[in-house]
């Protein structure tokens, strides 16, 4: 019945790991050929792989794991998917119904443990509910603000036979999120936009989640209005990096121009983003003089961190469509002279060239490595995932995304170990594409075992490690905030990544000097199987610009003025 529901939902790939409490489902998997199974090496990897699959396709990612340790290992992945609003259905085995609550072997309170880290979860005690619940799980995972859903199925229920008759798409009886935005609010938003003198569009992952048409509409809106646009880490690619209105990413490691424009703007149009603390910095100094418009499908995102003036609850795509229609019907447009003055100001900020760095002859700067990687891969169908740390921020700053769904990174939870399994999931969905995990040497070790998954399933992912022999992001904070006392942020006893790749049956490549980099990257691209690329980079490079915790947007650290004013204690407690 489980398989039937998966087939009905159009599922072709499942990421999983077997165990006692899911053996009946595995047995059913064995006896059919509609649903394929990718065996991971750790259940956390299964969830991240499903996330990578989901984010690169827009479909729901599916996970199958056993009870007890299988379920607890999945918790990090589920939390990650919840924070980043990624649709995932995770089926967990459970001990037989009569054993629940008895501390049976490999029993854990899966619905209890996963309640706060899923959008919703179910324990199915009656086989006659199973079909409905599974179909409902897909509906809940993918509708409204997407998120992970757990379906916990006791082993006796897996064995039982029952009736399965559900219409293909069940609509949940109560959960029916609002899609269409309120027309009055949208009109008020357009009013504010047409009278703006210093507008900015700030878009986020919600635009990506809404689907490719939302990205197209966003592009239309930008073209039509001529407004500058910035985006969160999650939203990269919705508006192309090559577009002339693009200011680069905003936030803690965003560009000078994006953050200054956010600070000084008079009308802010936030579309599918959530005023997260990485974005706002010091909340009471966040864009103090602007009228704020906020489009979000989740009403609880509105007025959570920042008070907004014009909230619009609805799906980004639908709201954008209405905005564009209403804008077009208007005869008044923003004042040309005002807009020119605003763009002149922005160009002046751009002139600061906040991402510049020096590339010497004898070692590789990490920024340069990403630039070269971009130049040598940009003409292909390339999907990028990342781990977490400096390399992640450099990837966001220096890899240029022209399309949505090409960029997958753990934004909300910041999960080291995300990138490799996510790349595996993306590669599974796009077998012929080039999929690269931009990694740090510390992060990659967290889910290194998934290299074995990549080899087994012939998923030729490339892991591009910016190896600085430090937990660079931790070291940077220690340098800036803790008197450069580098407590346990040095990566000692690292493996030889080239040999490690070979041990797994993959290809290992190393580059140490700038002049070897291009050839080495080309070799990586040309390799048939999975690659670990050990890119030795400058060990002490820092990631700038940076808004230190608890500071305002116009208080950015740029790389060329290394002295940091004393950070207040209130700032230090922030992460």
């Amino acid at each position: 019945m489980v398989i039937q529901a998966l087939v009905d939902q159009g599922v072709v790939d499942v990421f999983g790991y077997p165990g006692g409490a899911v053996l009946p489902i595995y047995d059913a998997l064995f006896q059919q050929d509609k649903v394929e199974h990718v065996l991971v090496r750790h259940e956390q990897g299964a969830v991240h792989a499903a996330e990578g699959y989901a984010r690169s396709t827009g479909k729901v990612g599916v996970v199958l794991v056993t009870s007890g340790p299988g379920a607890t290992n999945a918790v990090t992945g589920l939390t990650d998917a919840l924070m980043d609003s990624i649709p995932v259905v995770c089926i967990t085995g459970q001990v037989a119904t009569h054993l629940i609550g008895n501390d049976a072997f490999q029993e854990c309170d899966t619905v209890g443990i996963t309640r706060p880290c899923t959008k919703h979860n179910y324990l199915v005690k009656d086989v006659n509910d199973l079909g409905r619940v599974l179909n409902e799980a897909f509906y809940v995972a993918s509708n409204g603000r997407p998120g992970p859903v757990v379906v916990d199925i006791p082993k006796d229920v897996q064995f039982a036979t029952g009736t399965y008759d559900v219409a293909k798409t069940v609509r949940h009886k109560t959960y029916q999120p609002r899609i269409k935005g309120d027309q009055h609010a949208i009109r008020a938003a357009v009013d504010a936009m047409t009278s703006a003198r210093k507008p900015i569009i700030y878009s986020g992952g919600g635009v990506i989640n809404s689907g490719p048409s939302a990205s197209r509409l966003l592009r239309n809106l930008v073209e039509m209005t001529g407004f500058p646009i910035t985006s969160t880490l999650m939203g990269l690619g919705a508006y192309p990096a090559a577009g002339k209105h693009w200011l680069g990413m905003l936030g803690m490691h965003g560009t000078y121009e994006a953050n200054m424009a956010m600070h000084d703007c008079d009308v802010m149009i936030c579309i599918g983003a959530r005023f997260d603390d990485r974005i706002t910095g010091r909340i009471d100094a966040f864009s103090p003089n602007s009228t704020k418009i906020h489009v979000d499908i989740d009403a609880s995102s509105i007025n959570k961190n920042v008070h907004v003036d014009i909230p619009i609850i609805g799906d980004c795509g639908h709201v954008l469509e209405d905005m564009i229609r209403i804008w077009k019907a208007r005869s008044v447009q923003p004042d040309k002279a005002d807009m020119k003055a605003w763009w002149d100001q922005i160009d002046e900020w751009r002139g600061r060239d906040c991402l510049k760095f020096e590339q010497p002859d004898d070692y590789i700067m990490p920024q340069y490595a990403i630039q070269r990687l971009y130049e040598l891969t940009k003409d292909r169908e390339t999907y990028i995932t990342t781990e977490v740390g400096q390399h992640q921020m450099w990837a966001a700053q220096f890899y240029r995304f022209e399309e949505p769904n090409r960029w997958m990174t753990s934004g909300g939870l910041g999960t080291m170990g995300y990138g490799l399994p996510a790349a595996i999931g993306a590669q599974r969905a796009h077998p012929d594409a080039l999929v690269i995990d931009i990694a740090g040497e510390a992060s990659i070790l967290m889910n290194m075992q998934e290299m074995s998954t990549a080899i087994q399933h012939k998923l030729p992912v490339k892991v591009f490690i910016l190896n600085n022999e430090y937990m660079g992001m931790v070291r940077q904070w220690q340098q800036l905030l803790h008197g450069n006392r580098l407590s346990h942020s040095y990566m000692d006893s690292l493996p030889d990544f080239v040999k490690l790749a070979e041990a797994y049956g993959g290809v290992g490549i190393r580059a140490e000097k700038p002049d070897e980099l291009d050839d080495a990257i080309k070799e990586m691209i040309a390799a048939n199987g999975p690659v670990l690329f050990d890119c030795r980079v400058h060990k002490l490079a820092n990631c700038y610009p940076m808004i230190p915790s608890g500071q305002a947007h116009n208080n950015m650290l740029l790389g060329d003025e290394p002295e940091l004013q004393e950070v207040s204690d209130a700032g230090k407690v922030l992460v």
């Binding site: 209890g112 959008k119 109560t174 989740d298």
Partner: protein, 174 residues
Amino acid sequence: MTPPATIESHTISIIVDNEPGVLARVIGLFSGRGYNIDSLTVTETEQESHLSRITIVTAGTPMVIEQIKAQLERLVPVHTVADLTVQGASLERELALIKVIGKGEKRVEALRLADAFRARVVDASTGSFVFEITGRTKKIDQFISLMQELGLVEVARTGVAAISRGENGGNGTG
């Protein structure tokens, strides 16, 4: 900017599917996000459609109260969330059972006060009474504090049950 942070008390009435775990979901939301629960009552109210009503009295700044409602609304088994405090005059009642031990003058005084508060004696022995009192939270608080001096030993309270006045259904049809 952020509006001035005055703490307000709100009574929120939530209609949910009566399914396992739904209370844990609601409570978990409050504890996980650091919201207050001053009072909580739960029970199935419409057996046929398997619906329960959860009534929560909570306190927070207006922004926090808005958050609480929005967060509750997005829970999958939640049907409706009504802020009875915002909707205007609503009826709020609590029931308490109060055990008082005492003899002589104090016992007489306890009975006299109980009468004034319209509390009923539901159990009595030569040395004790159990009073039953219903009313608004304030009234019950007041009664309890008076009983303090008169030999109060135990209190059991139900928490607030609340419903909107008039023809407009708070959660129901409205």
